[in-house]
């Protein structure tokens, strides 16, 4: 997994470097739009290559970043993560047509069920409460124009 991540970053770095050259390097007096991106790519590509080599050799440090501690280590339940992402993606997919608050409330109920919240009362209460709170705070109090959709439900 780590090797794939490092390899993908390397490929992105190379593509970014090529893109930077296409943007134009400019001159000392008038640096082009690609000047700074190219310098970034010059550091990004070897750094990503170094990490990739370390991962392939198995010498890369497995320590998580400072802000993460061990939170992101260990086993992952991929189907659950996929389900959560798909349920979340429904919001931008149909939120404009159905209404953001309504879609989001339903998505939250689905996410809570995917996560394993038992029964139906708790997920439904969570979704409805969040929807009502969102409508009160964002629409009524802060006057944020959330899409109401064709049903006009916000």
């Amino acid at each position: 997994m780590e090797s794939v991540t490092a390899g993908a970053l390397l490929v992105v770095g190379v593509a970014y470097g090529v893109g930077a050259l296409n943007e134009g390097f400019g001159s000392v007096h008038d640096t082009g739009a690609g000047f700074f991106p190219f310098l970034v790519a010059v550091i990004l590509v070897p750094a990503a290559a170094f990490v990739l080599v370390q991962e392939l050799r198995g010498t890369a440090t497995s320590a998580p970043a400072d802000e993460d501690e061990e939170d992101f280590q260990g086993e992952v339940h991929w189907p659950r993560i996929g389900g959560v992402l798909v349920a979340s993606a429904v919001v931008p997919a149909v939120g404009d047509d159905v209404g953001l608050v309504t879609t989001l409330s339903v998505a939250m109920i689905v996410i809570a069920k995917i996560m394993g919240l038992k029964g139906w009362w708790a997920p439904v209460a969570l979704g409805v409460a969040f929807g009502v709170a969102t409508w009160l705070i964002f629409v009524q109090w802060l006057y944020v124009p959330l899409p109401a959709g064709r049903l006009g439900l916000a």
Binding site: T61, I111, L146
Partner: protein, 512 residues
């Protein structure tokens, strides 16, 4: 100054500000107590409402969260040996040993009072130094800003716990993402893939909420979980005895000074300052053998240090407009979203905002002390909230926040994609804090670099004539060398702190 401060307190008396300060410190304490979501995650989730609460309100809210998280992080460290925050890892060493010896109450009180003292000292420092340093900062030019940005990024990579190479990769990735959109010099579009949607670049809020809010929610999705059983001390058990107070007071003062000093320089100051304070206390102690077995100084020093560093971190942000820490990058983002650009003239241009925020920090710090000790039992009971209930809530807040900021479903898609990528990258040990800091610093770094290149007229020795820039670069290089030497030394022998500890804070958060 006294009049300004009085004006700040008068402005802060606005009920909205009081409510935001209270919300900030309570929320900060909660995210500090709960492993999994930290102050960066909480701030990123709330970025979407910063335009609604205004720049002063945003500063008050975010300052409350930042201070509160450093308070809250110590609670689980002391009671459970589970640091809620990276900056509370050191506190767990002796704090939890005190709990095992039946001194949990005094340990919590010492941590809270040390934090309060350090917080107050750092706010006084902020009040005194920010206006003075502003007059100096006005004289800085593009080479100095370039050097400061570089030093901030390089030191974050070098001094963080994880892989430095991975941090460098994420810094570059952040800088690269920041370049999408309008070229700041010529106004041309670049890396927009021919679409106008990306003309203004990626939404910073969408990126931050994705890599922190959504990614942290996803971590909870795949975990088995069991509630933590915590026995919090009662009110009458909180008071430390005279001996403990006598040992804690000087350690807290030293920790405050160490934290304040380190908070002013680039790098992960809050974490580093706790280690620096711990090592200092151990070296100064007549009984170094007590460290790791419940030394009071091992709690007071580091707790004071991380709080002082948190307060001091506001100085470079307000004076230079450059955040030296990821949390400050989010504070900067909140200000920018409100059309406020901090920098050398910030204190002069926005005196009411500056002094109101100073007043809010004083009151917020006091709120933390008054609220936290009596409510420690309530806060620790939150560890029993299942992630199944918390995760949908976080995702919902992120979606509404991102949409409310830009009225764009595209931003919501960007957030979800950033969340997935952030989750995968963080699982591989890549630092998203470095990424976010780089995205924020990119415009300043690129502009100052290109101006410096233009001013140099092709003369490679141009920078030698800029002593301040050279000093900053030299300091960064020296720190890098020292960091590399330390890393080499640590490969040969165990870590200076961990070597002789009988008990280490567990690295496993409770949500397993």
């Amino acid at each position: 100054m006294i009049n300004d401060l009085a004006g700040g307190f008068a402005a802060f008396a606005d009920p909205t500000y009081l409510l935001l300060a209270l919300a900030g410190v309570v929320l900060g304490t909660l995210v500090g107590v709960l492993p999994g979501i930290g102050p960066i995650g909480a701030m990123s989730v709330l970025l979407g409402i910063t335009t609604q609460v205004g720049p002063t309100g945003s500063l008050i809210l975010f300052a409350g969260i930042y201070f509160g998280s450093t308070y809250g992080g110590s609670t689980t460290s002391i009671l459970l040996n589970v640091p809620g925050e990276a900056s509370s890892v050191v506190t767990a060493i002796d704090g939890n040993q005190m709990t095992r010896r039946g001194r949990a109450g005094p340990a919590l009180t010492i941590a809270a009072i040390s934090s309060f003292v350090a917080g107050t000292i750092s706010i006084v420092g902020l009040m005194l130094f920010a206006p003075t340093l502003s007059s100096v900062a006005v004289k800085l030019g593009p080479p100095e800003y370039m050097a400061l940005c570089l030093a901030g990024l390089v030191l974050l990579a070098a001094l963080s716990n994880g892989s430095a190479a991975k941090s460098v990769v994420m810094i570059c990735a952040g800088l690269a993402v920041g370049t999408v959109g309008i070229d700041p010099a010529d106004g041309d579009l670049r890396f927009t893939l021919g679409t106008t949607t990306l003309a203004e670049g990626f939404s910073f809020i969408a990126l931050v909420m994705g890599v922190f809010g959504i990614a942290e929610a996803l971590t909870m999705a795949g975990r088995r979980w069991s509630p933590e059983r915590v026995s919090a001390p009662r009110l009458r058990e909180l008071l430390p005895n005279r001996e403990e107070t006598r040992q804690a007071a000087p350690a807290a003062l030293r920790g405050s000074l160490i934290g304040f000093g380190l908070g002013l320089v680039p790098g992960p100051a809050a974490v580093l300052s706790t280690f620096a304070s711990y090592v200092t206390e151990k070296k100064l102690s007549r009984h170094p053998e007590k460290f790791g077995r419940g030394a009071v100084e091992g709690v007071a020093g580091p707790e004071a240090a991380n709080n002082a560093a948190a307060g001091a971190a506001f100085i470079p942000l307000m004076v230079l407009g450059i955040p030296f820490a990821p949390t400050m990058a989010l504070v900067l983002a909140a200000l920018l979203l409100n059309g406020i650009v901090p920098g050398p003239t910030f204190v002069d241009d926005q005196p009411e905002m500056f002094w109101t925020v100073i007043a809010a920090m004083y009151i917020g710090n006091l709120m933390l002390l008054v609220l936290n000790l009596p409510l420690v039992g309530l806060f620790t009971r939150l560890l029993a909230v299942p992630p199944q209930a918390m995760m949908p809530f976080i995702i919902g807040l992120c979606v509404v926040g991102v949409y409310a900021d830009g009225n764009s479903m595209f931003d919501v898609v960007v957030m979800l994609v950033a969340g997935l990528l952030g989750f995968l990258l963080r699982r591989s040990g890549f630092s998203m804090a470095a990424f976010v800091l780089a995205v924020v610093l990119q415009p300043t770094l690129e502009t100052s670099l290109r101006q410096t290149v233009a001013y140099s007229d092709g003369n490679a020795t141009y920078l030698l004539g800029r002593p301040v820039a050279m000093v900053i670069v030299a300091a960064a290089v020296l720190t890098l060398v020292a960091s590399a030497a330390r890393a080499l030394r640590n490969r040969r022998r165990p870590n200076v702190i961990s070597a002789d500890q009988s008990s280490q804070p567990t690295s496993q958060p409770p949500r397993q």
